[in-house]
Symmetry: C2
Subunit: 414 residues, 2 copies
């Protein structure tokens, strides 16, 4: 049995025990995790420092080093997130439907955990705790595979969680870490169908595409957001400027930030001049020829620019002749995440919401609202950009599947 | 642009038009399809005869030839199935939830079609019409890829459907067929992520595994059913005999038929003797040593036998010491389809339903009830054996996803 197979088999064994536990047992384990994180603050920070030292040696960018860093405040934040889950309703055991057949057979559709969930992510170690805790609350076993940059932090965090889970009387294998971060092991991990039910990659487009192209386990794609705002000819200029500004500059590094700005030619001059005044060069602009007439551009936008998730103070601007052209542009370049129209036309608003193929389609509001918290989910494992299972923000309910329970007294089919 | 890319691009174009059509338009197109099938009966039969002639040349088994054959009655049956869909509610446009944020932003979660659905299936040409019609009713575009054995029948049926769809005023590319049935094209088809949203293989385990292992498009696995009945020590013998007999012999070729029989040792003698009397050698039995003491076996069961979907009058018998052992056996060998316990013990019934990991878990009733019709869905595209998206019978609602529509008046995130 290989290293990964043993890990998988242990996770699968733990899964069976998770099917029988109560909400109180899960919440108790979450409280133990939160406490243990707080109590082991010094240890976590010292292990994290090893990763930070390696990061300096590898000349990792300051921004990436910052994402990697754990301090008292961040550890407190992780513990708080875990405790917040305790207050949320248990997503398992909900009766989703049911009926009785004429022959007396009773059918009940009930929510159950997905099973063993594999999470593949990059360097932020807070994902480690967050993902494991959401899985635990939803009755799922998690097998975490973080990046090598955070390996010391992750080992320490997972060990702390496993001990806490055990202390709470659950199988410690309800949470585990793939400590071998080699590329070969990652490849094998994605094909572990026998033990892992679902794979959720969290990270940039490169990671997600690697998983989609190599995994044989069913995948939920999350978090790739090449989002656009379309400013229609009937748009209110002030709303449009605010929505575009908020989408681009409030937090450019996240997936619901906007990357493309589409402007109807009839309003391009008025709107782009207003935007130019607002931004005053704070945002790098790549535009087509028509846009360049009204706003200072840093270059002409190529097709690849429209397909790029900049995650930075950069935007690509495209001018169009119609709502149809804007919709076709979005359906061609978007990642099915969040898209917005700014318009005062009811017909164009309805057309846009009907024909744009994305998880969240906005009229006159910032795409930055696509978020588990804003959508009332309380917690979020990621934002799905695919159509199977869950679309948009994935909270606890989206981490469950269902099972039909059928009870009879000897019924057979005629 | 390759042949498949062109097909895919046309399907994607048709998808956009499908987002705007009404229930009446879809039902009208279904009626046109039903009428056209009836009117073109002679043509369908003559094209089907070409496939039947080839089947004889290839020395296809009689059973397979029968599955391939279309006659007046079967064509009428296809038309009736299409008309039945007209009477079912439209699964698109249902409001699944929603709320208003304190800032006035309105969020509505609404059901929408999956998009472009690829269906890969084997030789039964009635699947061609059935799958296309279910896709149409649920607002999806279908790209069908049937087996080479039925190519003439499929070409004829799809041409009839495309003309009918066009006559009803829809884009004829709402239904299309991959006429190149080569293995290379099949491989390319499974990676057409740009144009196809979901892939549904319908057929035997071999086909399904090929798709799961090669597709990069999200897959819904359907129809592989290695189902078991577990006869607990407290079982009512008469119920147990009837349920096992019904599961194995009422229609052995379907996925919800049973393949394994698990018997508690304490009841093995009494139960297996009763079953022996019922079957009188009509079913081929592979059993373990303990079972062989009480029922006439045709051989000792090996591990591979327990993993085999016989789809025939053959069953593998395993004796166990406990409900736990039965559950572990099922979770190891089953395909997560339908599993049954026959018991008079409430504790064992509950344990079994909780810990068995399958789409449908029965107490004291035949697994043959796992079916879209019995589950009240009206129509069924297949029975999902995976956990993502839909589990168990997939009806019209399961052929949809959802989209969040968010309406504001200039809200931005603070």
């Amino acid at each position: 049995m290989s290293y990964l197979e043993e890990l998988g088999a242990n996770a699968k064994k733990a899964e069976k025990t998770m099917r029988g536990i109560s909400s109180a047992q899960k919440d108790n384990a979450l409280e133990e995790i939160a406490k243990a994180l707080e109590e082991n603050q010094a240890l976590i920070i010292s292990e994290n420092e090893k990763d930070l030292e390696n990061a300096v040696k590898k000349e990792m960018s300051k921004a990436m080093q910052d994402r990697l860093k754990l301090d008292e405040k961040r550890i407190k934040g992780m513990a708080d997130s875990v405790r917040k889950l305790i207050s949320l309703p248990d997503p398992v055991g909900r009766v989703l439907g049911g009926h009785e057949l004429p022959n007396g057979l009773k059918i009940v559709k009930k929510s159950v955990p997905l099973g063993v969930v594999g999470i593949i992510f990059e360097s932020r170690p807070n994902v480690t705790v967050d993902a494991a805790a959401i899985c635990l609350k939803s009755g799922n076993v998690s097998v975490l595979r973080g990046g090598s940059d955070a390996i010391n932090s992750n080992k320490c965090l997972v060990e702390i969680m496993r001990n806490a889970v055990k202390k709470a009387g659950l199988d410690e294998n309800a949470v585990s870490l793939v400590t071998d971060t080699s590329r070969e092991t990652a490849g094998e991990f994605m094909k572990l169908n026998r033990y892992i039910d679902v794979l959720i990659p969290r990270g940039g487009g490169g990671l997600i595409h690697t998983v989609v192209n190599n995994a044989t386990i069913p995948v939920i794609q999350t978090g790739e957001g090449n989002c656009s705002v379309y400013v229609d000819s009937s748009a209110d200029i002030e709303k449009a400027v605010n929505i575009v500004d908020n989408g681009k500059t409030q937090r450019p590094s996240v997936c619901n930030a906007i990357e493309n700005l589409i402007v109807h030619r009839d309003i391009a001059e008025q709107f782009l001049k207003a935007l130019n005044e607002k931004w005053q060069g704070r945002v790098k602009i790549l535009g087509d020829e028509a846009a360049a007439k009204y706003i200072k551009v840093d270059g002409i936008a190529a097709s690849e620019d429209y397909a790029t998730e900049f995650l930075d103070y950069t935007i690509a601007v495209k001018t169009v002749e119609s709502t149809d052209e804007a919709i076709d542009f979005i359906n061609a370049y978007g990642t099915k995440h969040s898209e917005c129209i700014v318009t005062e036309s009811l017909a164009n608003a309805e057309k846009f919401q009907r024909e744009v193929d994305a998880a969240a389609v906005y009229v006159n509001a910032s795409t930055r609202f696509t978020d588990g918290g804003e959508f009332g989910m309380g917690a979020e494992i990621g934002i799905s950009t695919q159509k199977l299972h869950a679309r948009g923000p994935m909270g606890l309910e989206e981490m469950t599947t269902y099972k039909y329970l059928i009870n009879g007294n000897g019924q057979i089919r005629g």
